[in-house]
């Protein structure tokens, strides 16, 4: 920096520091403790107070006889006043004597009290003790909304430092990964006013987060400038968002700050920042134009909006509810999926005034975290990822009322139904095991995949989710619960349900009810499970059939075969006949495999 520039820089810095010093002075004047004057009163004793001192404050102290007599007379007088009857008042000498006893007690006069073991006033009132209580500051401790003088001055010095390192050539080595990352961070923070804005230690946290993330993921800092722009866009967005949120919280509380709430905001901001850097790195690098884009009002960077949506989502959850929804890893999954979704379909942001994404994540958390049993950190983020992924692929179909009725996201409805059915407690069932998180995700993924690929079977004419999914799943789960035993694993059951979903998605007739009220697809599962898990089956049958690949294969083959013919109760009876014949053949020691079953079944159904 040349001398002229240095002088100008010094002038500007000095003016900034001076201005902050002035504001600190004004703040301290506003906050200054003032002594408040008490209203007028006579602090001297009188007979009534003197009597109460001995009657109420120190009732157990041993009294001189004269005092005792006076107190007894006082009580009589007070009773008479209360009753409205006549009484003999104290003489003026007696009144004075009573007050004298009081004053002697207060002044610890040994002449009267030396043998009486009276507990006198604990300490003298002093100037210091008077002021300690009556010199009152403006705000309660910890609630002053103004930056402390230290923050004002330190913040200004920090800003001056940022200006220097960001703009003075050679001040920071930008050839290293760390240097590039820090330069990006400093450039972005250049716009943030630390001295005035309630950001607490956010800048330091962002700085540390950048360094740690770059160290843990060195491959995301490449030679091109996109990742640096990512750091810049994200840190600016979060710093401004955090500052606005803290100001809003303070305003809502009539100017009173709450350090705990502010700390919560900043901790989540740091988390979102780390998550965006680590999860978004490769995504953004693959398509930087889309994600970092042009910074103007109409097409602002998607990364910025995803960051804001993530922070808005975590901070707007009801207290205590967030832990049920997403943890740190879950948030990372959601952020990455959000970026990909908006990348595929910018309409999620652009058509909803940039609010669509936050609404969707919030609705997902709200809908799914209210289920029975706790799936939280494992299931919810993955389901959210699936929903976001599919939404990106077909926004109009799957979320037709995005702006007006965000809760009516068709995949969300489908996922919610699926999880509710699978998580229901198996009361009075033969087969009781609970589906694991992995099982639930597998089924849900199949459901969402089928919905997205072939939505016609699941939506009614009005575009709402119809009952088909619920009917198919509920009845099939019921069949499994009714017929299965300990040899049926949840993984097998999951695969059976997936096969059911795919069959129903392909052909709606599987949902038609038989005379017994069961849908055909559930009746199929029921028949097969009844025969496979029959407790009267011979050991030979159990040996051949009670294997995962066999059970799953029997169901798949049955559904495929049924799919090729006209569905009716007659066909179910034929299936039953075929499986019974197969079991008999096994019992007789004949050879058996799935191909034979398929062949026999196809023949029987034709």
């Amino acid at each position: 920096m040349g001398t002229a520039e240095l002088i100008l820089f010094a002038i500007q810095s000095a003016i900034r520091l001076g201005a902050q010093a002035k504001r600190s002075f004004i703040d301290s004047t506003r906050a200054r403790a003032l002594v408040l004057p008490l209203p007028d009163f006579d602090p001297n004793s009188n007979p009534s107070i003197a009597a109460d001192y001995f009657l109420k404050v120190y009732p157990d102290v041993k009294r001189p006889r004269a005092l005792q007599r006076l107190l007894e007379k006082t009580v009589v007088i007070r009773d008479a006043i209360r009753e409205g009857s006549t009484y003999e008042p104290l003489t003026s000498e007696e009144e004075k004597e009573l007050v004298d006893f009081h004053m002697e007690a207060l002044l610890s006069s040994d002449a009267t009290w030396k043998d009486k073991k009276i507990k006198v006033g604990e300490e003298y009132i002093t100037r210091e003790s008077v002021n300690a209580m009556l010199k009152i500051r403006q705000w309660e401790k910890g609630t002053d909304p103004n930056p402390s003088p230290l923050q004002r001055m330190a913040g200004t010095i920090f800003e001056i430092g940022i200006d220097y390192y960001a703009h003075v050539p050679g001040a920071l080595d930008k050839n290293t990964r760390q240097g590039k990352a820090i330069h990006s961070l400093l450039i972005s923070l250049d716009d943030v006013q630390f001295a005035d804005k309630p950001l607490n230690d956010l800048p330091v946290r962002l700085f540390v987060a950048t360094m740690e993330t770059i160290s843990e993921n060195p491959d995301i800092v490449s030679k091109n400038t996109d990742i640096q722009k990512l750091i810049k866009v994200t840190s600016v967005a979060l710093a401004k968002d955090v500052s606005a949120r803290i100001e809003f919280l303070t305003k809502e509380r009539s100017g009173v700050r709450n350090p705990d709430l502010e700390k919560n905001v900043i901790e989540w901001a740091e988390l979102v920042f780390r998550s965006v850097l680590s999860s978004a790195g490769k995504t953004v690098a693959a398509d930087p134009n889309t994600y970092l884009g042009v910074e103007d009002d109409d097409t602002s960077a998607f990364v910025r909006h995803v960051s804001e949506a993530a922070l808005g989502f975590v901070l707007d959850q009801p207290e205590g509810e967030l832990s049920k929804a997403f943890g740190w890893d879950g948030l990372e999954v959601v952020i990455k999926a959000s970026l990909e979704a908006v990348g595929k379909n910018p309409g999620i942001l652009l058509d909803s005034d940039n609010k669509g994404l936050q609404k969707l994540i919030a609705e997902i958390a709200k809908e799914l975290s209210g289920l029975d049993n706790i799936f939280s950190a494992q299931v919810l983020p993955e389901v959210a990822r699936l929903i976001l992924e599919k939404t990106g692929e077909n926004l109009e179909l799957l979320w037709p009322e995005m702006t007006t009725r965000p809760e009516r996201h068709l995949l969300l409805t489908a996922a919610s139904q699926t999880l509710k059915i699978l998580s229901k407690k198996p009361e009075g069932a033969l087969w009781k095991p609970a589906f694991t998180s992995e099982d639930m995700l597998n089924v849900t993924e199949t459901v969402l995949g089928e919905f997205a690929a072939n939505p016609g079977w699941a939506f009614d004419a009005a575009g709402k989710v119809n009952d088909n999914l619920r009917v198919a799943l509920e009845a099939s789960v019921e069949a499994l619960r009714l017929r299965g035993n300990s040899r049926l694993s949840t993984k097998t059951a999951t695969n059976i349900l997936r096969a059911v979903i795919k069959a129903v998605a392909t052909r709606q007739e599987f949902l038609e009810e038989l005379p017994n009220g069961k849908p055909i697809v559930a009746a199929t599962v029921d028949v097969l499970m009844e025969k496979i898990f029959d407790p009267n089956n011979d050991e030979k049958v159990a040996w051949r059939l009670l294997r995962t690949e066999v059970i799953e294969g029997l169901v798949e083959v049955s559904l495929l075969a049924l799919n090729k013919c006209e569905l009716s109760s007659d066909k179910i009876d034929k299936l039953k006949g075929v499986i019974e014949a197969q079991l008999t053949a096994i019992n007789k020691g004949k050879g058996w495999d799935l191909e034979k079953f398929e062949s026999d079944l196809t023949t029987a159904l034709t």
Partner: protein, 289 residues
């Protein structure tokens, strides 16, 4: 032409660029700190107010600190000195011109100015001026007047009533029993309303340190109530049971509050009130707020 090198005055003395930087830095820093004279005037008024109020409180509590030397006693203003102190505060605060007033408003100090003025008028007994200032202060919003000052503006009507009751008690005692009864009724009405206003303000500021002042003010009101019964009924008469109960609760709240805020130095005030009121700090059936 011999060029003058700015960085060399003579051979043995050179200015380095860094030195110029530092000097300029200091010059402009100090100059930028200027233009705060209006705030300084306010601070002077605050200091005068503090000194005056401090002396007044100490006089009221009949300070009898062991080892208090004569010279230290002289530092406590007399009653006339207290009056002069508050008058001086009013004079200072009324002397701001339009530009200074606007500056104070811009710096969000006007609420503080109004609060100080209202307290000074109240102590001087200038009720009309007080009411004018309080009316102006009441329309300020949360960005113009801050918690302590706002609480004091709310509490002042209560403090005024306690003072008015004290004035009535100080009047010569009437000989006629009916007149005595009328005085008692008048004093009781003023004190009940005054204490009620102070208690409402206390509840709205239940965790702010100003609650200690508001509690002590209520206890001062109770002291006046006892004095009224002594004067107008009988020298050993007591106020109504509920009033005594309220005083016991307030003393209990004072004790609890001082413990909670760790104000050990202020504990002696509890003994003071206990001794001059003849009540104990009893918390049973008191609301904690």
């Amino acid at each position: 032409m011999h060029k003058i090198n700015l960085f060399t005055l003579n051979k043995g003395f050179r200015f380095r660029p860094q030195s110029i930087f530092l000097i300029l830095f200091l010059v402009f820093f100090l100059s930028a700190c200027g233009s705060i004279s209006t705030v300084n005037y306010l601070r002077d008024a605050q200091e005068m107010f503090n000194q005056t109020a401090m002396s007044e409180n100490q006089l009221k509590k009949s300070l009898d600190e062991p080892g208090l030397t004569t010279s230290k006693r002289e530092n406590i203003l007399s009653a006339s000195g207290v009056h002069a102190g508050y008058a001086s505060v009013i004079h200072s605060l009324n002397s701001f011109d339009t530009e200074q007033t606007n500056q104070l408003k811009q710096d969000k100090l006007w609420g503080n100015v109004l609060m100080l003025k209202s307290l000074a008028y109240y102590r001087l007994g200038e009720i009309d001026n007080l009411n004018t200032v309080v009316t102006e202060a009441k329309v300020l919003d949360a960005t113009e007047i801050f918690p302590r000052d706002k609480a004091m503006i709310s509490a002042i009507p209560g403090l005024v009533r306690i003072n008015q009751a004290y004035r009535v008690i100080q009047l010569p005692t009437p000989s006629d029993n009916n007149e005595k009864n009328n005085r008692l009724v008048e004093v009781e009405s003023l004190l009940h309303k005054g204490i009620e206003i102070l208690d409402e303000t206390r509840q709205k500021n239940a965790t702010h340190p100003i609650r200690f002042f508001l509690i002590e003010s209520q206890l001062a009101g109770y002291k006046n109530l006892v004095a009224a019964y002594v004067k107008f009924v009988n020298p050993v008469a007591v106020p109504q049971e509920q009033d005594t109960k309220n005083a016991e609760c307030n003393l209990w709240r004072l004790t609890q509050g001082l413990i909670k805020d760790e104000l050990k130095k202020a504990q002696a005030n509890v003994s003071f009130w206990q001794n001059i009121l003849g009540v104990k700090a009893l918390g049973a059936k008191c609301s904690s707020q």
